[in-house]
């Protein structure tokens, strides 16, 4: 599981660098540090929107509103967790049976 998660996180970092035109290398991006904090990567709300669009395009991860986006886009770890959860949900179907 761990190598799979590491590959996913590396993929997210590489995608972010490409999509947001960052002049960084993947190993310069911390996996648990807040992405949008002032002492983080220096990204802004425009980058956040581009990231939301890119996550849907590359990983099929839909973030329907600003609240969901702000939770998921906290760090590389939280993005990877959301992608894993959405893949798991897609494989197993809805957790609850629909009401009659």
């Amino acid at each position: 599981m761990q190598p799979e998660q590491d590959a996913l996180k590396l993929g997210i970092k590489t995608m972010m660098i490409s999509e947001l035109m960052l002049t960084l290398k993947p190993d310069e991006i911390s996996e648990n540090a807040p992405i949008f904090s002032p002492d983080g990567l220096g990204l802004d709300s425009v980058d956040a929107l581009q990231l939301v669009v890119a996550l849907e395009k590359h990983y099929g991860l839909k973030l329907p509103d600003a609240e969901a986006a702000s939770q998921v886009l906290h760090s590389i770890d939280s993005i990877a967790a959301a992608i894993s959860a959405s893949r798991h949900a897609a494989q197993t179907g809805p957790a609850l049976a629909p009401p009659d």
Binding site: E19, L20, M21, D47
Partner: protein
């Protein structure tokens, strides 16, 4: 390129669509019309297989969402949006019915917001987009009797500049053109002496042609105009 031109039944919309069809053989044109569609259909017949006609009330959010979804389903991308649809209902402000204020703001300004909002995400995903909003010289040099139209078009210019900053990093440019007196249906409402009076205000001593507006739109929409964004190109024979 996949191009959507709104207000495609009007003189300027026709000229814009025609110019893209003539000069870019690979372009696919989506022509949006509100009610009258005969001229858009004639263009479609003239360039078979290159055009699609879309019924769209440009001030209705839901119609925009389904129109763009339809374009993406068919062509898988949207490269250029030309927000050309609009109308004017001129009155002195003291006499202006509230519904004519609202209708003009909605048709000219809400429509631009809704169209841009609908294409931003797909354009961001493809890292390319060209948005050209048709403003008016009335926004820069507002005449009496057009406070609604001038306010709406000034809003279009401010909106264009703000949005340009929001999407600049995503390969999307957003620009406006501001046509002055152009030989269109709207100008036919003036009498010959009134027209003569208008021409006297134009340093070039003639009205503009729809194709001269289309040339500016085509330029701003081309891939090589990549570093021009948030600009307003006036097309007025030198009035301003």
């Amino acid at each position: 390129m996949v191009i959507l031109v709104t207000g495609a039944n009007g003189d300027i919309g026709q000229a814009i669509a025609r110019r893209f069809l003539h000069n870019d053989a690979a372009s696919r044109l989506w022509l949006s019309v509100r009610s009258r569609r005969e001229r858009a259909e004639a263009l479609n017949a003239e360039f078979p297989g290159r055009c699609r006609i879309l019924s769209l009330s440009a001030a209705e959010a839901a119609e925009w969402e389904s129109a763009i979804a339809g374009i993406l389903q068919t062509d898988e991308r949207i490269d250029v949006l030309v927000n050309n649809a609009g109308l004017h209902r001129d009155h002195l402000t003291a006499n202006m019915p509230g519904e004519d204020w609202a209708a003009v703001l909605s048709a000219n300004l809400d429509s631009v917001f809704l169209g841009c909002r609908a294409v931003i995400r797909p354009m961001m995903a493809q890292h390319f987009g060209r948005i050209v909003n048709i403003a008016s010289l009335s926004a820069l040099l507002p005449p009496k009797g057009q406070s609604n139209y001038a306010a709406a078009k000034a809003g279009v210019i401010a909106f264009t500049r703000s949005l340009a900053k929001e999407v600049a990093r995503s390969g999307i440019t957003v620009n406006a053109v501001a046509p002055g007196y152009i030989e269109t249906e709207a100008l036919k409402g003036f009498s010959a002496p009134e027209k003569q009076g208008l021409v006297q205000q134009i340093p070039m001593r003639r009205f503009g042609r729809p194709d001269e507006v289309a040339a500016a739109v085509e330029f701003l929409a081309c891939p090589s105009a990549a570093y021009i964004t948030g600009s307003v190109l006036k097309i007025d024979g030198g009035i301003l």
